[in-house]
Amino acid sequence: MTDILTAIFSTIGALAILFASIGILRMPDFYLRLSVTVKASTLGVGLLLICAAFTFSDVSVTTKAMAIIFFLILTAPVAAHMIGKTAYHTGVAIWKGTIIDELKDFYEKKAPDGDENPEQQP
């Protein structure tokens, strides 16, 4: 039973990481790459850690695996958000197929008010 579960989960996890890396190669612009990579790799690493917890059915290993998954889920979106925000601020181009961009209107509306100190933004 444990072997079957480990096999299924590790296959799905490895496939998720594989699709994420193919996604880096194939996506047309930076934001789509970021969007594909962060989630799929988090899911893949999470599934592989669950496999480790199943295989070594030991409290210490399970605790560590759960802690790693918890911190991964806690930190990966923050990292993706910061990378995406920085890319948008430094003017990385958006793919030409993008339908709407409401963030651009937001910054343009804000710019005439005099937002002189972008460093002070949190």
Binding site: F19, Y31, K39, P77, I99, F106
Partner: protein, 157 residues
């Protein structure tokens, strides 16, 4: 919060009494403690904890389902030669007000494949989400509101 701590204490007592430190045993003790507290607090006024726990478990499973479904969609798009996506950056009006609510909501949205938080306005009223499959803007906003935000706020408030 008080009920949660009491429940944890009861499950630790269960684990100590049975003497086998496994997660399954801990979970069983937690369920027993929940049941005992539920019976003992039937007449009390503050019963929020007993509604929250089932809702939280349901929400976790719902979130896992959403995450896997979206992952399958993105993976299908990655390995087939044609692009199906229509990306767009939209403004999402927030109902969540405090920091912890916004944090949890944006973590959920970011963890679902196909959506990525790009920015949050300074008055904490709106999020800017990069969406991969944007068929209809208003329908997408409704979907997130009904699917994630209302359920999350129900648990947290």
């Amino acid at each position: 919060m008080k009920h949660f701590l009491m429940n944890l204490l009861l499950s630790f007592i269960w684990v100590a009494l049975t003497g086998s430190l496994y997660y399954s045993n801990f979970l069983f003790g937690y369920l027993m403690g929940f049941f005992i507290l539920w019976i003992m607090n039937r007449q009390e006024a503050d019963r929020r904890y007993f509604n929250r726990v089932p809702k939280t478990i349901g929400f976790i499973f719902y979130f896992l389902y959403e995450m896997i479904a979206a992952n399958v969609q993105v993976a299908y798009d990655v390995i087939t030669p044609k692009y199906f996506f229509k990306p767009g950056i939209i403004r999402y009006p927030l109902e969540a007000t405090t920091d912890i609510e916004i944090n949890l909501l944006s973590t959920m949205i970011s963890m679902t494949p196909g959506t990525l938080i790009l920015d949050i306005s300074e008055d904490k009223k709106s999020l800017f989400i990069h969406v991969m499959y944007l068929r209809d803007r208003d329908r997408f906003i409704q979907q997130i509101k009904k699917g994630f935000e209302h359920k999350l706020l129900e648990i947290l408030r």
